[in-house]
């Protein structure tokens, strides 16, 4: 009788054996069991890792956590939005009243660990497969570079963090893993970057625009050293980039951020989060969402909505630009014309301006590492290590000359820093130049914390900054799941 049963099932359902009948494989999804075999698979996995830049916990499409934690938490910008139930998290950042349940911390944590997991998946599996060695090396270098960058952000935002260097496949494994000391995290970051700087390509073709180069790895490593106050190492590493002469400043400040500046022509930006309009889920909102909240104006030049008032420049930032600094007019508009023709005095960032687009569909890349930053970091490292020297002052002067629309490489007695500039003067000037040069690029908070200036600067703005504010709280979601995490002081 059983045979009869099976016979019927064979007829109707194509049943061959129980085991086969019950084995069903996804037809519209790749699985971890059948992926990671070819060079193309690894490339696809790496693209997934790069896509982490667009995670809401990093830069998102223009309002990711790093925008808030890097800029709005400082004296550079605030949030031009009504204080409502939907803006509580953002205003905590502006007001320095951080709560552990704030989604922006959670997103930052999740986003960076997703990126780390994506790079771990590549690094775990690369040794076991064979394809073109050069490509394999490049992929390893990119994965290590990205992992280092994600950990570097984490350790600066949160201090000691969980250290995971292989893909986690036990759903409960993360619930007991404690936090590694800061120096262990930095050891991993440095190791990854030292490997990466040696195996990443020297040049990136236009077809690969967006991928990490050797120089990006060196710039990041320089920043890692600088952050740890390893000034000698930092100066040496950054000098390698300057000496290589592969990267250079764009003559015109505005051109750095223009969508029309081609990758091949832009030798200043060393790594950027890549955006592209056209409603393919890859557009940027660094300009359109940063225009004044709910405001419409013919000035804005985009359709389908109004801005959210993200990253509204503070009066303090606006006042910080000296007269004649072209970076002010490139970076900030002070007012707009309303639909009824009146002038509304509400400032908004125009650094990433692109007109004629749909809201949130900008092509402008968001710079993560650029040569101007390298020059300023180099000057800072030298200044802190041994005081100003000619090379350090020249690095800063190039930035200053450009900001006055002067030829970058032609000394100019009027604006150049004198050879006699003191360590303290240069330190103060560097703080200002970094602020103005890199405004809205999510550098300010990291700069102020690195130079131990955050609390003083914020207090001077009347903000209730506390010493513990140099780290953000570990997200409540994670501390609830894992009692071994503990919490940063003050939260």
């Amino acid at each position: 009788m059983k045979k009869t049963f099976l016979g019927l099932a064979v007829l109707t359902l194509g049943l061959s054996s129980c085991k086969d009948f019950l084995t069903v494989v996804p037809k519209t999804e790749r699985t971890t069991a059948n992926f990671y075999n070819t060079a193309a698979d690894f490339n696809t996995a790496l693209v997934g890792a790069y896509s982490t830049f667009k995670h809401a916990g990093l830069y998102g499409s223009g309002a990711g956590s790093l925008i808030w934690l890097g800029e709005v938490s400082t004296d550079n910008t605030d949030y031009g939005f009504p204080r409502t139930g939907s803006s509580v998290n953002q205003f905590q950042i502006e007001d320095l009243t951080y709560q552990v349940g704030n989604d922006l911390f959670r997103d930052a944590w999740l986003g960076h660990y997703q990126g780390i997991s994506r790079t771990n998946a590549v690094l775990d599996r690369l040794p076991a497969v064979s394809f073109d060695d050069a490509l394999k090396s490049q992929y390893e270098g990119e994965a290590r570079f990205l992992r280092a960058m994600f950990y570097f952000n984490l350790v600066r935002l949160f201090g000691p963090v969980q250290l995971s260097t292989t893909e986690i496949n036990d759903p409960f494994a993360g619930n007991t893993l404690g936090r590694a000391p800061v120096n262990e995290v930095y050891t991993l970051i440095e190791n990854d970057l030292i490997v990466a700087e040696n195996i990443l390509p020297t040049t990136i073709t236009a077809a690969n625009a967006g991928r990490a180069s050797k120089w990006a790895a060196k710039a990041l490593l320089g920043k890692v050293y600088l952050t740890q106050k390893k000034y000698g190492l930092a100066a040496d590493k950054l000098k390698e980039i300057i000496d290589a002469n592969v990267n250079s400043l764009m003559p015109n400040y505005a051109d750095v951020f223009l969508s029309t500046t081609t990758f091949a022509n832009n030798r200043e930006v060393m790594l950027a989060a890549q955006y592209k309009g056209g409603q393919i889920s890859q557009g940027g909102g660094f300009y359109t969402q940063w225009t004044p909240f709910s405001a419409l104006s013919p000035d804005f030049g985009f359709t389908n909505g109004a801005g959210d008032g993200v990253n509204r420049p503070t009066p303090n930032l606006i006042a910080a630009y000296p007269a004649g600094d072209v970076r002010k007019t490139v970076s900030i508009a002070l007012s707009y014309t309303s639909t009824t023709g009146t002038t509304v005095n509400e400032p908004y960032p125009t650094k990433f301006l692109q007109k004629g687009i749909i809201r949130g569909e900008s092509d402008v890349e968001f710079p993560i590492l650029r040569y101007a930053d390298v020059l300023l970091m180099y000057a800072e490292a030298v200044n802190e290590q041994s005081g100003p020297n000619a090379a350090a002052l020249d690095a800063v002067n190039r930035i200053i000359r450009r900001s006055r629309n002067l030829p970058v490489n032609t000394p100019n007695a009027t604006v150049d820093l004198a050879a006699s500039t003191s360590t303290a003067t240069l330190r103060t000037r560097l703080e200002l130049e970094r602020r103005l040069e890199l405004a809205f690029e999510s550098q300010r908070w990291f700069d102020l914390v690195r130079t131990d200036r955050f609390v003083d600067v914020m207090k001077a703005q009347g903000k209730a900054a506390q010493p513990f504010h140099v780290l953000y709280p570990i997200p409540q979601r994670e501390t609830t799941l894992n009692p071994n995490l503990g919490q940063n002081t003050g939260y």
């Binding site: 069903v24 519209t28 790069y50 896509s51 999740l110 990758f263 890859q282 909505g305 609830t480």
Partner: protein, 1043 residues
């Protein structure tokens, strides 16, 4: 005195001369008895003097027949309409009600058609104890949430819906809208609700949420009938929210802007003109002069309408002893009470049974249907064109139409300080979301009698579904600008669910032992294939479909309002299930009942290390009333005690969940889109079903010749190894970009539902004037017994929490203590005597005061606690039927008591941005002398205290009692009917949802989480009201005639 044994034989028929099988024939005052066979005959050897036969049969009036020396006796039993049907449909067979040891409730087709609705699920509400049904959307064809004995699973990815078995075919929910809409309620003969493990374990890994078996009408031999059933009527919205008029809204807004201004700008004065105020605190120009505004627009008038509903069915049934048929064709047309919404269904049924040979019976059930729906985005934010919120939020000073005939709107906002809401009527007129579904459910069988007691039955069936839906969101419906680029969405869905079942049935009575055995083997495979495509970047509106724009794939589905839930352009899903099953019933002496079942299921959904599960159950029953010691009394005419215990499973975990999957996460490299993949789930080879262990103790009691019938059950249902979606630590890095709560599916945790169900039928009056009451009430207590850890909190939609020691989905947030009556009171609100600042430093008079739960002197996120319970303390149905001669009146009421609803609709916020309820206007805090109701604070926009926090302020008691239907009917007397050539005729008028007694402030207390256009059924975040489609009140009249 003994007498020579005498054998008598006889036949028992019903009043239509049909043989009655299973009638108990007992020699009165003895234990000597038998029951009738399939042809209604019996034979008995009698030794008693002057014997009297006592014949009894559930559903029929008992009768005593003196033998009077006859050897051949013909008895006609009169039907007893009040008693339950004699035969109950159980899984893979039928059983006599009296022999049941499981908890099964039966609803007749007649009761299903008492409520004029599109789907039978809506009609079941209030009819069965333990069956909790809530409509989550009043849209025609809207979803219902169906729970049997509470929420068993705390996993958000897991369905808590029962298994539906339609004419023997276990179906799965698929297609568009509510899959049960495809079945015409008029085609239903009966619905059996299987509740305890004894009844459901035969469905194994799909039985743990209970089983609802739907049986459609089949032909009866020698009983030809042609019928016509028609009803028609209209519907209207059952309740409106009393909103502010234009003048009130203006006053409210001015108040809110002034309060916000003073709060944020300490140097500000209320007299400051707009020019010096930040934009948020400027008063919109249109509202500057409230007195000039008057009533303004009632936007609810604009979108609600009187809507037609009509239903037609023609049917024919009959046949001979060899072939029986029952066929029907139906047309149902229900307009929605919101403009331009509605549902139409064309349904057919063909059931044929034939005797192919002496030993072979064959038959087929065919249920084809074609359903079309026109939808709009109903619930959801007005920014996503949610039409309810758009209508309610729109300032009332805006006209529906401007004098020039164009639509009045606040899009684009004339000023930065004003709200931007699209015209709801324009949305209804210009947004298009049609869908249609063709479904064919067919099941064929062949039954071969190997021996007279042993039958082999094989079935082959298929459930075919083809559906399509489209969305067209034209450029004119931007919520931010005068026009925005149009978007479109298209979806095609196909599923094929194939089933083969093979069972052997053995049924025999040996003396006082009766045995019934069923054993079988089944295999089922379901494959679905959906293509969902989004297009954006339209440059004009000339081609209103995906072809007119740039196809951007399915990944973008969410960017088209109303088209959510599709994450990829193509999704092919497949799953298989293979089973062996057996059930044995044993009855000793008609009094002692034993049932044992077992099913072994293998499913492709489970991990390779855990492919097969076994689900056994056992139950016993004792027919106390058949004991000799009960014979002498006349009070109790039926009493049965039941007990059951067993294991069932829940396999509703979706497909491929045990496999580690990758998903798209693309990026731009070289200025071009590059395909990226990231890990989206963790592989779990041990993933298996959820096991429910259920104990049920039951009692069936009839008193005073069945004038009073009571069925009572207590149950303890425990779901163990729950298919729990656990939060995983961020460090695992699982998930695509944008996931805010990475999770993994594991078997873990336990949830208990324990409860009491009472179903009482009383025949209060039985003379010319008849009055019968059917009532039922259910008390269910839900408690989470274990999760990953006792500290675990699973959040649903940020509003609800599931944690150990509490019911699933409790409301979680700050607890409102009241409203600060003065600035001094706010400043004095301190938990600790030493603290420097008040608990709420920013609070002022009129702001909300929250509890400092952790007593740390600061009110913040750490002060959230459980503030309410979405689960009812009890729910009930109270249904009365009155009959006098040819007239009858049915009144169905039902209700739920003791549960909370969180209303997050804009009409309750105090910010004076969107329009709000008149209640808020009247009851807000204005001054210490006008303190309002203590719930709503001052009107304020951008208040620093942030009064709009998720808190108990927006939590309301949802208890209600609803008059579900009132039906008045007149049955044309048979003589009159026959004179005009009819077999029978009935004329009726029904009012549905006539009134709901409730204090709830929203449209309807029967809300569930209103996500998605059809309303959602997320049991982790239940009863959150965000503007679902309101229910309608309907008035219909109809006629049923048979020829």
């Amino acid at each position: 005195m003994a007498q020579t044994p005498q054998t008598i034989s006889g036949r028992v028929v019903d009043d239509k001369n049909q043989p009655l099988p299973g009638v108990t024939v007992l020699v009165k005052s003895t234990t000597n008895g038998t029951s009738t066979g399939v042809d209604g005959t019996f034979s008995l050897t009698i030794t008693t003097e002057n014997p009297v036969l006592a014949l009894s049969y559930i559903g029929y009036k008992s009768q005593e027949v003196p033998v009077n020396g006859r050897s051949q006796i013909e008895v006609t039993l009169a039907g007893d309409q009040q008693a339950l049907k004699e035969v109950v449909v159980v899984g893979y067979g039928t059983q006599q009600k009296k022999d049941l040891t499981g908890a099964i409730a039966t609803v007749s087709g007649q009761d299903v058609t008492k409520v004029p609705v599109s789907g039978f699920d809506q009609a079941l509400q209030g009819q069965v104890a333990g069956l909790q049904i809530s409509s989550s959307s009043g849209a025609p064809g809207g979803n219902t949430n169906i729970l049997i004995r509470g929420v068993g699973s705390a996993s958000s990815g897991t369905s808590n819906e029962p298994l539906f078995v339609i004419d023997g075919f276990p179906v799965s929910g698929s297609g568009v809208g509510n899959p049960l809409n495809t079945i015409n309620p008029n085609d239903i003969e009966s619905i059996d609700v299987l509740k305890d493990a004894s009844a459901t374990a035969i469905y194994g890994s799909r039985g743990s949420n209970g089983v609802i078996i739907v049986t459609t009408k089949r032909g009866k031999a020698n009983k030809s009938q042609v019928g016509l059933d028609v009803y028609a009527g209209y519907q209207e919205v059952a309740k409106r929210i009393d909103m502010m008029n234009a003048q009130e809204f203006a006053l409210f807004t001015i108040d809110a802007r002034n309060n916000g201004y003073l709060d944020n700008v300490p140097t500000g004065k209320i007299t400051d003109p707009n020019s010096v105020r930040p934009t948020n605190f400027r008063i919109p120009t249109a509202l500057l002069d409230p007195a000039s505004l008057g009533e303004g627009t009632d936007w609810q008038d604009a979108i609600f309408r009187k809507a037609r509903i009509q239903s037609y069915q023609v049917s024919a049934s009959g046949g001979s002893d060899n072939v029986r048929y029952s066929v029907s064709a139906g047309y149902f047309d229900q307009e929605g009470i919101i403009l331009n919404t509605g549902l139409k269904r064309y349904s057919f049924r063909a059931n044929v049974d034939a005797k192919a040979s002496k030993r072979l019976n064959v038959g087929i059930s065919l249920l084809p249907s074609y359903t079309t729906q026109t939808d709009l985005p109903y619930s959801g934010h007005y920014g996503s064109l949610g039409i309810i919120q758009s209508a309610l939020a729109q300032p009332p000073n805006v006209p529906v139409y401007n004098p020039d005939g164009s639509y009045g709107t606040t899009v684009p906002t004339p000023e930065p300080q004003a709200v931007s809401v699209q015209n709801a009527v324009k949305i209804a007129n210009e947004y298009k979301s049609p869908s249609s579904q063709f479904r064919l459910l067919g099941n064929t069988y062949a039954e071969y009698a190997i021996l007279s007691d042993l039958k082999f039955r094989a079935t082959i069936g298929a459930d075919l579904n083809y559906s399509r839906n489209e969305v067209w969101n034209p450029s004119t419906l931007s919520t931010a600008a005068a026009t925005g680029p149009a978007s479109a969405f298209a979806r095609r869905f196909e599923s094929i669910n194939l089933l083969n079942e093979n069972t052997l049935t053995y049924q025999r009575t040996f003396g006082r032992h009766a045995i019934n055995f069923v054993g079988g083997f089944t295999a089922q495979r379901e494959t679905s294939d959906v293509i969902a495509i989004t297009a954006n970047g339209f440059t004009d509106d000339l081609v209103p479909n995906i072809n007119g724009g740039i196809i951007t794939g399915g990944v973008n589905g969410g960017t088209v309002p109303g088209a959510t839930g599709f994450t990829q352009p193509n999704s092919i899903q497949e799953y298989t299930i293979l089973s062996i099953l057996a059930r044995a019933n044993y009855v000793f002496n008609e009094k002692y009942l034993l049932t044992a079942t077992v099913r072994r299921d293998g499913s492709s959904r489970f991990g390779e290390d855990n492919l097969w599960g076994t689900f056994p159950s056992a139950s016993v029953g004792w027919r106390v009333s058949d004991e000799a010691f009960m014979k002498s009394q006349r009070v109790v005419n039926d009493l049965k005690l039941r007990a059951s215990y067993g294991l069932t499973g829940n396999n509703n975990i979706g497909n491929y969940r045990a496999i580690g999957q990758l998903g798209g996460s693309n990026y731009i490299l070289g200025d071009a889109l590059a395909l990226g993949q990231v890990r989206t789930s963790i592989a779990n080879s041990k993933l298996g079903w959820e096991t429910t262990k259920q104990l049920d103790l039951g009692l069936d009691l009839s008193l005073f010749d069945s004038r009073i019938s009571l069925t009572a059950d207590v149950y303890d249902r425990r779901n163990t190894n729950m298919l729990l979606t656990v939060q995983v630590a961020g460090v695992t890095g699982i998930g695509p970009n944008g996931i805010t709560n990475p999770t993994a599916l594991v078997n873990l945790g336990e949830v208990q539902n324990k409860g009491l169900e009472l179903a009482l039928t009383t025949r209060n009056l039985v003379g010319d004037f008849k009055w019968t009451t059917n009532s039922n009430i259910t008390f269910n207590r839900n408690e989470v017994l274990a999760l990953q850890s006792d500290r675990d909190q699973i959040f649903g939609a940020n509003t609800n929490v599931t944690q150990v020691g509490q019911p699933i989905g409790m409301f979680f947030g700050r607890r409102q203590l009241g409203i600060f009556q003065s600035d001094d009171e706010a400043r004095a609100y301190r938990t600790l005597p030493t603290q420097a600042a008040p608990n709420q430093p920013a609070a002022r008079a009129g702001d909300v005061k929250w509890k400092d739960v952790n007593n740390d002197g600061v009110v913040n996120d750490n002060d959230r606690e459980i503030i309410g319970n979405p689960n009812p303390k009890y729910f009930f149905g109270f249904n009365n039927s009155f009959a006098y001669k040819a007239f009858s009146l049915d009144v169905l009421t039902n209700g739920m008591v003791g549960f909370d609803i969180y209303n997050s609709s804009f009409f309750l916020n105090n910010s004076g941005v969107q329009n709000g309820a008149k209640y808020v206007y009247d009851n807000r805090w204005i001054s210490p002398s006008q303190p309002g109701d203590g719930r709503f604070g001052r009107s304020i926009r951008g208040g620093v205290n942030n009064n709009g926090q998720y808190s108990s302020q927006y939590l309301f008691d949802g208890s209600y009692l609803r008059i579900r239907t009132v039906t008045l009917a007149y049955t044309v007397p048979r003589e009159v009917a026959q004179r005009i050539g009819l077999q029978g005729a009935r004329i009726f008028a029904t009012g549905a949802n006539l009134y709901t007694f409730t204090k709830y402030i929203g449209y309807d207390p029967e809300v569930s989480n209103g996500s998605g256009s059809q309303g959602g059924d997320n049991q982790l975040a239940p009863r959150t009201d965000f503007g679902t489609y309101p229910i309608s009140r309907s008035y219909t009249a109809g006629v049923s005639v048979s020829f």
